[in-house]
């Protein structure tokens, strides 16, 4: 099954950590501009699936095709270039560099890609404005709240205009009001740039911001649109 127009398609992914089976034939596909929630119990393989899809962890077997190319055939250099320029990441905690100001944090991915400091910080500020945290630009991560930090992290994930945004429990550490605001801003921003969003969450109210959901249980995925 290869849904036409998919940006990222994974079939029959398997991954074991020693005796632990983390993925046991999982499938996934996503279109540009689509927000897909990955749900399921703790330890079911959601993060492992996300790490495989993002080329962070190689699966033991199975296929991952990004933009028409099989990821396994890419070199490490190609895969990390892909992660830097076409993918964005938001995780639950601890992603901001404490020594840098917020705007420097957001500008970092652009700086790593060779953009000048001035240019990078200008683009960074634009994203911080959209995420309503531009007034925190000169503060350091230790001086802002968790919810604000998460918005800064989302700004950083979007600053390169990635084609795929990988978010693993992006609101996991936030209260429901802050969590929902982050989801609102994140999905709005992603839609406006036609980015695909892989959203790992075990919270239904967060998943309700997605277009559709899959459920991972015991390393197997279930496409909930195809439940009889």
């Amino acid at each position: 099954m290869t849904p036409t127009g998919s940006l990222l398609i994974a079939t029959d992914l398997r991954k074991a950590y020693g005796p632990t089976t983390a993925l046991d034939g999982a499938e996934f596909s996503i279109h540009p501009g689509e927000v897909v929630a990955v749900m399921g119990p703790s330890g079911s393989g959601k993060s492992t699936l996300l790490h495989c899809l993002a080329g962070i962890v190689p699966p033991d077997s199975g296929s991952i095709i990004y933009n028409g190319r099989e990821m396994a055939t890419m070199s490490d250099t190609e895969r990390s270039a892909l992660r830097r320029s076409e993918f964005g990441f938001v995780f639950q905690f601890g992603q901001l560099v404490p020594e840098l100001t917020c705007v420097e944090n957001v500008a970092l991915p652009l700086r790593l890609n060779g953009t000048s400091r001035k240019e990078a910080e200008k683009t960074a500020l634009g994203w911080m404005q959209r995420l309503e945290v531009d007034d925190l630009a000169r503060k350091r991560p230790g001086e802002i709240s968790g919810g604000q930090g998460q918005r800064v992290a989302v700004s950083r994930a979007l600053v390169t205009s990635p084609r795929v945004l990988f978010a693993d429990e992006p609101t996991g550490a936030l209260d429901s009001l802050n969590g929902e605001r982050v989801m609102e801003l994140l999905t709005e921003a992603a839609r406006s740039t036609n980015a695909a969003v892989v959203l790992v969450t075990h919270e239904a109210r967060v998943a309700a911001y997605s277009d559709r959901e899959i459920v991972v249980r015991d390393g197997k995925s279930r496409d909930m649109e195809r439940v009889v």
Binding site: P41, E203, R205, A208, M224
Partner: protein, 174 residues
């Protein structure tokens, strides 16, 4: 909760007398609300009239509780349709959902699919409410939030029940 469908489902494993049906219902589903005999007879006569059950025999002694009922093909189809149709997501569904799951286990149907299709229906409703909330004023937001929190609780119950289906199957088989 649909008493008619529940009684029909109980008949799927074999014909039963009226009093036996009541006892099975009370034991499995009626802990806090046992059926009255009157409910059993009015329900059974409706099912009889609609061709979903037939009288399979009458014990000596007379009286409606002495009738033995058997489910018909149309009855089985009716139970199947009820089980396969997700409930409209709304708060306080638990007793209906619980009944559906137990009946599915009792009749060797796929209880996990029933839970998953309900889960999917719930999330669909949650998306609609989330969208309404995003576009609405504060009053809309508060009303939608109330519904969303309740649906979320249901959904957590669905997930937990899915995870415990093996244990529930064992308990129900006893």
């Amino acid at each position: 909760m649909s008493i008619g469908h529940t009684l029909l489902g109980l008949l799927e494993s074999g014909p039963r007398h009226g009093y036996d049906l009541k006892r099975a219902f009370d034991e499995k589903f009626g802990h806090d609300r046992p059926l009255h005999y009157g409910q059993v007879y009015s329900t059974m006569s409706r099912l009889l009239k609609n061709g979903l059950v037939e009288v399979d025999g009458i014990e000596a002694g007379g009286g409606p509780e002495r009738k033995r009922y058997a489910i018909t093909e149309a009855g089985i189809t009716d139970v199947q349709r009820w089980l396969a149709t997700p409930e409209k997501p709304e708060p306080y569904l638990q007793s209906t959902l619980y009944t559906k799951v137990v009946l599915a286990l009792l009749t060797d149907r796929n209880a996990a699919d029933i839970l998953d299709s309900q889960r999917s229906e719930h999330l669909r409703m949650m998306r609609i409410l989330t969208d309404r909330k995003r576009k609405g004023d504060l009053a809309d937001q508060l009303i939608c939030d109330h519904a969303l929190f309740h649906l979320e609780a249901d959904l957590r119950w669905l997930e937990l029940t899915t995870a415990r289906l093996g244990k529930l199957a064992e308990a129900v088989a006893k």
